[in-house]
């Protein structure tokens, strides 16, 4: 017998719904205001703050594009080159980070060695252990190893499994039945083959999700390139330079907003294309049994 669900909304959900509607309105309006204001004339922005632009000034985007440069030594790096560096930085780092977490997750969950407990415990402790202010030391070490200010240096630095995603992979591999790999083993498959052609396809969705999450965070990250990779400015770093450069062409607020919106477009497209994956189900399996 089907029980009809109650129609009325519980009080708690009513309050939460109201809160979330308010949140959506504020966020939506802020973005809307930002986009429309980026089309305002420089003088108009001062006296017509709230309304729509009286005359739509598209030149703001032209100025933003032309002045979107990062200084590298004596030369200027423009948007196209920054796009390349962004792709290399975000794509490369996201791939090595995901691959490292995945490899370690697999190794520590599918094989029974004492080292596994040590590794898992170490990650748990390293994640909560606040070793503050190691950045200067990191720079010194990078300089010693000739990795400072190189793209490969960044990839090496991000090939790291001290992350919550290591635990995500660990939990997922642990949950996969042994029968898959045993069946393959009887058919004569080796360890690498089992890992690459059987186990990886099974966790493909998680792999892509983690990759995309890493990708977005590296794409948006300007603080690491600002410290460690100044010769290869990414778009996010370019926006940082753009934001704090005081020139008559770039400092007006509508131009600033135009620059910000311009570089938001790639990430917006990525979000629209992979919305489901980016917001996919990821859990640590941290439930009480």
């Amino acid at each position: 017998m089907k029980v009809k669900k109650k129609k009325h909304l519980p009080l708690l959900f009513g309050v939460l719904l109201a809160g979330m509607i308010l949140y959506a309105l504020i966020l939506g309006y802020m973005l809307f205001w930002g986009v429309t204001s980026s089309f305002k004339g420089r003088l108009e922005f001062a006296d017509n703050i709230l309304g729509l632009p009286r005359a739509w000034v598209f030149e703001n985007y032209y100025y933003a594009l032309r002045n979107f440069v990062s200084p590298v030594g004596m030369r200027n790096v423009y948007l196209d080159e920054m796009l390349l560096y962004s792709l290399l930085y975000a794509g490369g780092c996201a791939f090595v980070s995901t691959a490292c977490c995945c490899m370690m997750g697999y190794a520590t969950s599918k094989f029974k060695y004492k080292l596994n407990t040590v590794i898992y415990g170490f990650v748990l402790i390293a994640m909560i252990l606040p070793l503050v202010g190691s950045l200067p030391s990191q720079i010194v070490v990078f300089r010693t190893l000739n990795l400072y200010d190189t793209m490969i240096g960044m990839w090496v630095a991000k090939f790291n499994f001290i992350s919550v995603y290591f635990m995500v992979f660990h939990a997922i591999f642990k949950g996969l039945p042994v029968s898959y790999s045993e069946a393959a083993k009887i058919d004569g498959a080796g360890n690498w083959r089992i890992f690459l052609s059987i186990m990886l396809p099974l966790v493909k969705v998680t792999f892509v999700t983690v990759f995309l999450l890493f990708f977005v965070s590296y794409w948006n990250d300007y603080s690491t390139p600002l410290l460690m990779m100044k010769s290869y400015p990414t778009i996010a770093l370019g926006l940082y330079y753009f934001r704090f450069r005081q020139t008559p062409d770039t400092s007006p607020r509508p131009v600033q907003l135009a620059g910000a919106i311009m570089v938001f477009i790639p990430i917006l497209l990525l979000f629209i294309a992979f919305r489901k994956k980016l917001m996919g189900n990821i859990s640590l399996g941290g439930l009480k049994e």
Binding site: M20, Y23, F111, I119, F161, N281
Partner: protein, 345 residues
Amino acid sequence: MKRIKNIEKCDFFYKLKRKLKDGIYTLEVALHNKLKRKRKNTASIERENKLNLLFYISLVTLPLLQVVVFYFYVNFNSFFLAFQEYNPVTLRYDWALWKNFDNIWFFVSREKTLLYCFRNSALSYVVTLFISLPLALLFSQYIYKKGPAGGFFKTVLFIPSIIPEMIMTTMFLYFADSFIPATVKGIFGKEIAGLLTQGNTTMLITLLCYSVFISFGGNIIMYSSTMSGIDKSLVEAAQLDGATQMQEFWHITIPMIYPTLSTFITVGVAGIFTHQLSLFSLFGADGNAYNEVWTIGYFLYSRTVYAGSANYPELAAYGLLMTIIAVPLVFTVRYLLSKFGPKTD
């Protein structure tokens, strides 16, 4: 007759002998087979173990090597760096024991900057713990229980976390500094300064509100997907008993996701010392931000950005001091969470 009897007797012994021989032979064969198979088995198991070990080593070696260099060595080096100073002649770091700490003491005794940093960082954690986190959990419960338009709000709450920080802060800065004063003037006819204007008392509150505003994204995804793993029968039982949503949230959801929750709270403690309250994206170099709103994370990061080799030891010393405060704090929080957390029953 006697002869016949003898023949029968012989026959009997003969048969017995044959039978015994056959038996021994079968036993031998069986034993031989068994032993051979066993030998073969141990050999193949050993081989497989070897292969497994080789595969395991090939997977873990590089990641472990990376951790040894970029985690252990970097942090040890940071510790030693705190007791060294830069020698501009040899371009090396020489031992200088307490010099960096003396400099820090000199700075602390003259200026209130570090005091502000501690206050604001602590405040930011309190806000995260008592405002952002409960809100994130409640919103996650709403999404997990499939409240009206839950999917839509999940997306909306997620958006600020994928928009690059620089873009969000650019928009927010102008929104707070231009839009809000203009709106207040339009509605109340009162002139107010921009919420993020240097030196304005509203600055810290605005920054804290903003940090709550952008905090939901990934947390909500993590919590709501952990919640979706909760045993349905438990929830149904509670509903049959007439539990309200709030009761269900408090007595089922929270205890069930407690392991994930406590991990996140503990990891968050480290955030006290790294969280920048978006100050660097909003104001850039340290001269531009009013020092009463600084946080420890902002202080250390902005100094590192503008530091040269000569400043690294002093910054490492700051780091060491913060670590000495942070580590016991983290373990206290962890202990308290395990002691006062919900028990499994």
